[in-house]
Symmetry: C2
Subunit: 418 residues, 2 copies
C-alpha cells in the first residue's frame, strides 16, 4: 500500500513550525508495511487543498491529511473535503456533546464560543474517528478504492487518533508489497570511505535491495531496505546482507538496530555498570537533555551541573578561581577541573565537561565564536579536545554535544579494553 501525507496550513510553509507530524506518521505506517511515497505541505486555500487531494489520489492508496480542522476561520479543510467528495457537512450529536463536556470541564463558568459547535460538523460520507483527546474529530472516508483520513494538526491529538483509531483499521488490510529494513550505526568512518569499503557488497545487490547512507556529524547510519512479496524470505536475505556488512565494516558498527548513539551509550554503560555526569557550560544542559530523553537513562545518568556563570563553576564544580582568571572559562585547564569537579561531586565513573563560546556574540581574537573545549574523565584518564566550530549558536551547541559524546565513547571503549 502506497501512502501520501498532506499537511495543510501556512505555518509550515512560512517556516514557523517544523513538520514533525509527518515524520511520526511515516514511522507508524512503516511498521505496518505501508510506505509513504510523498509528503506534501500546502497552503490552507481552497484550490490548493482540492488539487492536492486529487493529485495524491492518483499516486497513493492511502491519503492522510492533517490540519485545518480547528474552530477558527483559517480552518477550511472540512469545507473543501465536502466539495471534493461531493457531500455535505452534518452535525454529529455525540461529537457535539463531547465538545461541550470538554469545554465545561476547562471553563467552569464560561459559555462555549459558538465557533466550537462547528467542531461537531463532519462529512456525511465519513466514518467518525472519535477524538477522546480534543475537540476536532478525525474522519475516515473510502472512495474509489482509496482511503482518505483527515486528522487535526495538533500533534498530541493526531498521535492519539493515529494510534487508537487509524492503525487498528489499517492493520486489517493485507499488504501485498512487503518491506524489510535493517540498520547499522557506524561511528568514526566518513561517508565516502565507508561507501568505498562496502562497494563490492553494494555492487552485488539485486534490484529489490537498496542501501541508504544517512550521514550526521561523526556518524553514518546505513539503512538496508528490501522489497518483495514473501516476508520470511526477505527477512532471511536481509539478515545475510546485514551480517555481510557488519563483517566488512568491523568494530566501527556500534549498533545493528535503528537506535540513537545516546541509546547505545546508555545500554553499554548499563551493561558495564558505569555511571555518567555532565558539567555543561556552552552546551547549557543539552547533553543531559539528549541523554535523559532515553527511557532508562536514570540507571546510568546521575545528574548534571549546568555552570553557565563562572561563580557556579567555582562553587559547585570546585574550579579554582585562579584557573578561571589565568586561562579563562573557555580553556583546557578549566574543562579539566570542571570534569573532575562534577565526577567527584556526583561520584560517577565517567564525566563530561564543556566550555565554549556558542555565539553569535561573545567572541574575541584569542577565543573566537565557536571555540569549544571539551574534557572527558573516566576511570583512569582525562582526555581533552579543542574544537573550532562556526558562528551559528544552535549548530555549535549541537556539534559540541555530539563531539562530547564521541569523546566519551572513545574513552569508554579504550578503558573497557584495558
Amino acid at each position: 500500500m502506497k501512502a501520501e501525507i498532506i499537511t495543510i496550513g501556512d505555518e509550515i510553509l512560512l517556516g514557523q513550525v517544523v513538520d514533525t507530524n509527518s515524520t511520526w506518521i511515516a514511522q507508524q505506517l512503516s511498521s505496518l508495511q505501508i510506505h509513504v511515497k510523498q509528503i506534501t505541505s500546502i497552503t490552507d486555500t481552497h484550490n490548493h487543498i482540492l488539487s492536492s487531494l486529487k493529485e495524491a489520489s492518483e499516486r497513493a492508496d492511502l491519503i492522510i491529511c492533517t490540519g485545518g480542522l480547528g474552530p477558527t476561520k483559517d480552518d477550511v479543510t472540512k469545507n473543501v473535503a465536502a466539495v471534493y467528495f461531493n457531500t455535505a457537512l452534518v452535525q454529529n450529536d455525540s461529537v457535539l456533546l463531547h465538545v461541550e463536556n470538554i469545554f465545561q470541564k476547562i471553563n467552569k463558568n464560561k459559555s462555549m464560543p459558538v465557533s466550537n459547535i462547528s467542531q461537531a460538523a463532519v462529512l456525511a460520507c465519513c466514518e467518525v474517528l472519535f477524538n477522546d483527546w480534543g475537540t476536532a474529530p478525525g474522519m475516515w472516508i473510502e472512495k474509489d478504492g482509496k482511503i482518505y483520513v483527515f486528522l487535526p494538526g495538533v500533534p498530541f491529538e493526531m498521535k492519539k487518533l493515529i494510534t487508537h483509531r487509524v492503525l487498528p483499521r489499517l492493520s486489517q488490510y493485507v499488504m501485498t508489497e512487503k518491506f524489510v529494513y535493517r540498520h547499522l550505526l557506524v561511528i568514526g568512518i566518513g561517508e565516502s570511505h565507508l561507501a568505498e569499503k562496502i562497494e563490492k557488497i553494494e555492487n552485488a545487490f539485486s534490484d529489490h535491495v537498496k542501501l541508504a547512507f544517512l550521514p550526521k556529524i561523526g556518524q553514518v547510519r546505513l539503512r538496508l531496505s528490501l522489497t518483495g512479496d514473501n516476508l520470511s524470505l526477505l527477512n532471511q536475505e536481509a539478515d545475510l546482507l546485514q551480517n555481510e556488512l557488519i563483517n566488512c565494516i568491523g568494530p566501527a558498527v556500534i549498533a545493528t538496530r535503528d537506535v540513537s548513539f545516546e541509546e547505545v551509550i546508555i545500554n553499554e554503560f548499563k551493561l558495564n555498570q558505569c555511571t555518567l555526569a555532565t558539567a555543561e557550560s556552552c552546551t547549557g544542559g543539552n547533553i543531559a537533555k539528549q541523554i535523559t530523553e532515553i527511557s532508562g537513562a536514570s540507571q546510568v545518568f546521575i545528574g548534571s551541573i549546568v555552570a553557565y556563570a563562572n561563580k557556579v563553576k567555582e562553587q559547585l564544580l570546585n574550579v579554582d578561581k585562579s584557573t578561571l582568571e589565568r586561562y579563562g572559562a573557555v580553556s583546557e585547564e578549566t574543562v579539566i577541573e570542571m570534569a573532575k569537579g562534577v565526577k567527584a561531586s556526583l561520584g560517577t565513573t565517567y564525566a563530561i565537561a564543556t566550555s565554549g563560546i556558542a555565539g553569535p556574540t561573545g567572541g574575541s581574537i584569542d577565543k573566537p565564536v565557536g571555540s569549544v573545549w571539551i574534557a572527558v574523565i573516566g576511570k583512569k584518564q582525562v582526555i581533552t579536545k579543542h574544537f573550532q566550530f562556526t558562528d551559528d549558536r544552535l549548530l555549535n551547541i549541537e556539534r559540541a554535544t555530539i563531539s562530547a559524546l564521541l569523546l566519551l565513547w572513545n574513552l569508554f571503549l579504550q578503558e573497557k579494553g584495558d
Copy 2:
C-alpha cells in the same frame, strides 16, 4: 514570486529524519518577499524526481531542491536533473581541486575515494554555486522563465549556500507581489476564546488580509499577513490592524514580534535585572537547554542542577533525606526544597524545580507515569502545581518544560506588579 521546495531522499519519508531544512529555507525566502507555496518530500527514485520537477515548474517560479548530491549510489539527483534539462554532466576543475583539498586536509595519508571525483560533476547548463563548506557544489539553472536551485541536503552546507550564494542572487529580482507579516504571542487564553474575542476585527478584514492561529500548549501565536503591491501602504495597514488586535486582547499579548516565549522571558528578566536557575529532575536539563538556546541568556541564566539521582537532590540541592523518604522524589515537598536549594546555592532571584515520572516506565498507582510536580520560587513567594500528563516520555518532558516556564512567567508578573 512563488517558490516550491522539493526534498529528495527516503529518510524523511521513512520518518527517520525531521525535515528542518525546508522550515529554514522557507524562513529565509519569506524575508525576501518570496512565498513558499508547497513543500514536497519525495523518494530518491528517477521517475519521482522527474515528475516532481515538472509539476513544481507548473506551480512555482522558483524551485529549490535539496538532497541526493552526495558521492554514494543512493544520490541520483544530478543524473535525473541532466535528463530533465536535457543536458550533460561535466567535470568542473575548480570544484575537483576543492574536493581534493578538503579530503587531504582531513585524511592526511589516505588517498581520496574515486567516488568523490563525481562530486565535481555538474550540469553543463548550470551556474555553479561554489561550496566552500563541503564537497557537493550547488547548482543554479534558469530555464523557460523558471529558476531551479539544487543544493546538498546536509543542513550546515545547505544553509551556507542559501545565505552566501542563493539569497544574494534572489535579492536582485523585483517581487511584484509583496507580503507583510505581523505577529502576536498570546499567553493564557485558549484558541477558541481568543477567536471569539477578536471576531469583530477579523470579520472586518479585507480579502488581502489573513489571520492565522497557531496554538501550542498554553500559548497562541497570531500571524497577520497582508498581500498587495505597495509595501509602504501594506506596512501602515498592518501596523493599524496589529494595534487594533493588541488593544482588543489586552495584557495577554506578551510579544508583538515573532519571538519565542523563552526569548520574552530572557528579555523581561534582563530589563528587570532578575536572574534564573533551574533544578531539574524529570525535565533532565531541557528547561536549561531551551533557555540557553537564546543568545544573551548568560545575562539572566546562572545555571542548573540536573538532579536525576536522589543523592544529587540531597547533596547539591539540600533536599532533606526525610522529605524524600516520606513524600518521595515526585512530591510537592521535594520540588519546593529543590527550588529553594538551587536558588540559595546559585543566588538567583528566581528558580524553577521539576520532578516527575517521564515514563514510559517507572509509574505506580499513587504516582502514575506522567505525574509531574513543579515549583517556582521568586522574590517573596513559592508557587507549586501538579500536572498529570500522558504516557509519552518526550511529550511529558516538553509539557513539563512549557508548564514550568508559564508558572515562572505568572509569578514574575505578579511580583513585578506588587
